[in-house]
């Protein structure tokens, strides 16, 4: 189901957690809310669930205004970081809970509930463990039970709060791929919160980057990485360098010289130049470039990450060099950014 968040403001004791946030989530989409802690991503998720009430603003499920409904009426599936399983119930009882608590004619007959719960346990690859208690399962298994439990109620939207946050790296990668498969199989509209950009970029159809209670950018992994909409996104996603620069006559100047990069269409004045460590070209001899002494270097997988101290202010810039350049420690390098963004 399509979910629309409209002009949501949320304040906790006068402290604004979300400032006028709007977001359209398409039906069947897998979308990630990404941001540092305190960015309001979990608050937004809990508002969609109905676990918090907005100070102002509305949330629509399809054409229906869900803001007036209680969490019980919204029919959502919520998965918590620390699983929040009912520990006195078996795996099967946990998964059936949402159907068992329904009243009157909305509750399916007992054998139907059992059949559906077993089907879901099969989907999350936990067949045969239905009589176990949560304490007898591993972290990854518990989280899969939690997901099956959330899906049992046929939710309008599936909400996951840092679902892999409490798991170790390897289980995390496995579950990530597996969640993508499940999503493609069931087609639930899914929103998940994470502070792990790799997870967000790899898993989600679209990523919502949030900071300080605002949405900075919404887009696919490519859009977010290649055309960051704000300095925050540039700095938060992937590696980046920032240099204070000046625009003069359509050229970018760093301190006392032009760096050989045209900035046509930009008015004269100060700005900040952002570029990725690998979006550079190396130069022999310098007719307009950034240049400096290598202060440190480290091998990272197939490339060498080199720190260069440049200019009179000794501004530190990190660039990536191919391994075949050999050891460059202490030498002088000249380069210029190939792809860059200027924020004023």
């Amino acid at each position: 189901m399509e979910v629309r968040v409209k002009n949501i403001v949320k304040e906790f004791a006068r402290f604004p957690a979300l400032e006028n946030v709007s977001l359209d989530i398409r039906s069947g989409e897998l979308i990630a809310l990404l941001g540092p802690s305190g960015s309001g991503k979990t608050t937004l998720l809990r508002l969609i669930a109905g676990l918090e009430t907005p100070t102002t603003g509305q949330i629509f499920f399809g054409d229906e205004d869900a803001s007036q409904k209680t969490v019980q009426q919204r029919n959502i599936g919520f998965v918590f970081q620390h699983y929040a399983l009912f520990r006195h119930m078996t795996v099967l009882e946990n998964v059936s809970f949402g159907l068992k608590v329904r009243s009157g004619d909305r509750r399916p007959p007992a054998d139907e509930i059992r059949r559906r719960a077993l089907e879901l346990l099969d989907l999350v690859q936990l067949s045969g463990l239905e009589t176990r208690y949560p304490a007898q399962l591993s972290g990854g298994q518990r989280q899969r039970v939690a997901l099956a439990r959330a899906m049992a109620v046929e939710p309008n939207v599936l909400l996951l709060d840092e679902p892999f946050g409490a798991l170790d790296a390897q289980v995390r990668r496995e579950l990530r791929k597996w969640l993508r498969d499940i999503h493609d199989h069931t087609g639930h509209t899914t929103v998940f919160v994470t502070h792990d950009q790799e997870e967000a970029l790899e898993l989600a159809d679209r990523v919502v980057v949030m900071s300080k209670g605002k949405i900075e950018q919404v887009g696919t992994a490519d859009e977010i990485y290649d055309t960051p909409a704000s300095p925050f996104v540039y700095g938060f996603i992937g590696e980046s360098n920032v240099l204070p620069v000046r625009i003069e006559g359509g050229e970018i100047w760093f301190e006392d010289r032009p760096i050989g990069v045209k900035a046509e269409g930009h008015a004269d004045g100060d700005g900040r130049l952002y570029f990725r460590p690998h979006d550079i070209e190396m130069l022999e001899g310098c007719g307009g470039c950034l240049a400096g002494i290598v202060t440190a270097s480290r091998r990272v997988a197939g490339t060498r990450h080199v720190e260069v101290s440049t200019g009179a202010s000794n501004a530190s810039v990190e660039i990536e060099l191919p391994i075949d350049r050999g050891n460059v420690d202490g030498s002088r390098l000249a380069f210029r950014p190939k792809k860059w963004t200027l924020f004023r």
Binding site: A49, G50, L51, V71, Q72, N75, I76, G77, F78, F80, H82, A84, L85, F86, R87, H88, M89, F97, G98, V101, R102, Y133, P134, A135, Q136, A146, R149, A150, A152, V153
Partner: protein, 286 residues
């Protein structure tokens, strides 16, 4: 395989890198022996001197049976009532912030500290037919003081902190997320409490119940004032033991004591096994 497991179970746990296991176990065992085992063994030895037939005759005395019924019945009832209200009280203390919460929290411990005789006299004064509450109940035909009802009230008083103090810490540990999870799955508040929260508290409630019950069975000081101590009606077993002692009927006193010991031990054993079982199953404290 099976033999290997049995062997391992009976081994004394290997000491870890933390030193002092042998010393600690030694102190524990000597202390338990001095304080608990020797007196109880003395009691049993004394009882075995009576001879089985006369022991059974003493035990079958209708007055003894009536006193035991009163003791265990009132203690059981009081512990049950304490469980209901103790859980509610603990819930209020854990879940709500209000003015005077700390005072109420401190008041819960008062029955621990107050001399039980003082409690008994105070309760008698209030519930006697001419007391504050007793006077209100009298026209309704309800007599509290000098009946088994009075005993139950005294035992509720002394047993309350046991339930509150055992349930409270477990309640504090309840994860908010578990309640929220139940709500997102469509459970009403009532369903969340009855199906999710209370079953999770069951082991702690059971501990509280057994402590309050054990305390109730052994309680003497507060009860004798409010009970009226009428034989066959409101006479508790501990009082009967004292009466027998005053008659220099040591055999009679010992017999009652041993019977109480056996029943108490059996009941606590059953409650503890239920607890160990549920702990294993749900992984509490694991």
């Amino acid at each position: 395989m099976t033999r290997h497991r049995t062997q391992r179970r009976w081994q004394i746990r290997q000491p870890s890198v933390l030193p002092g296991f042998g010393l600690a176990l030694g102190v524990t065992l000597s202390w338990l022996t001095l304080i608990v085992l020797i007196p109880l063994a003395g009691l049993v030895a004394r009882a075995s001197g009576i001879g089985l037939s006369s022991f059974l005759a003493l035990a079958a005395d209708p007055r003894v049976i009536a006193a035991l019924k009163v003791s265990f019945g009132t203690a059981f009832l009081a512990a049950l009532i304490n469980v209901v209200f103790g859980v509610i009280l603990a819930w209020v203390l854990v879940r709500y912030q209000f003015w005077g919460r700390r005072i109420i929290d401190a008041m819960v411990d008062l029955p621990f500290a107050l001399p039980t005789a003082v409690a008994g006299i105070a309760l008698t004064a209030i519930y006697a037919p001419n007391g504050w509450i007793g006077a209100l109940l009298e026209p309704l035909g309800l007599k509290v003081a000098f009946t088994p009802t009075g005993i139950v009230i005294a035992l509720i008083f002394v047993g309350l902190p046991f339930v509150v103090r055992t349930v409270q810490p477990i309640m504090e540990e309840i994860d908010r997320e578990v309640e929220e999870a139940a709500a997102t799955l469509g459970a009403t508040r009532f369903q969340t409490i009855s199906r999710v929260l209370l079953p999770g508290l069951a082991p702690a409630v059971l501990t509280g119940f057994s402590l309050a019950f054990a305390r109730g069975v052994g309680e003497y000081g507060s009860v004798i004032f409010i009970a009226g101590n009428r034989p066959y009606v409101s006479e508790i077993a501990p009082l009967l033991i004292v009466i027998r002692l005053e008659e220099f009927n040591y055999a009679g006193a010992t017999a009652i004591a041993v019977i109480m010991l056996i029943i108490s031990f059996a009941m606590l054993l059953v409650i503890n096994s239920i607890q160990a079982w549920s702990r294993r199953r749900y992984g509490y404290g694991a």
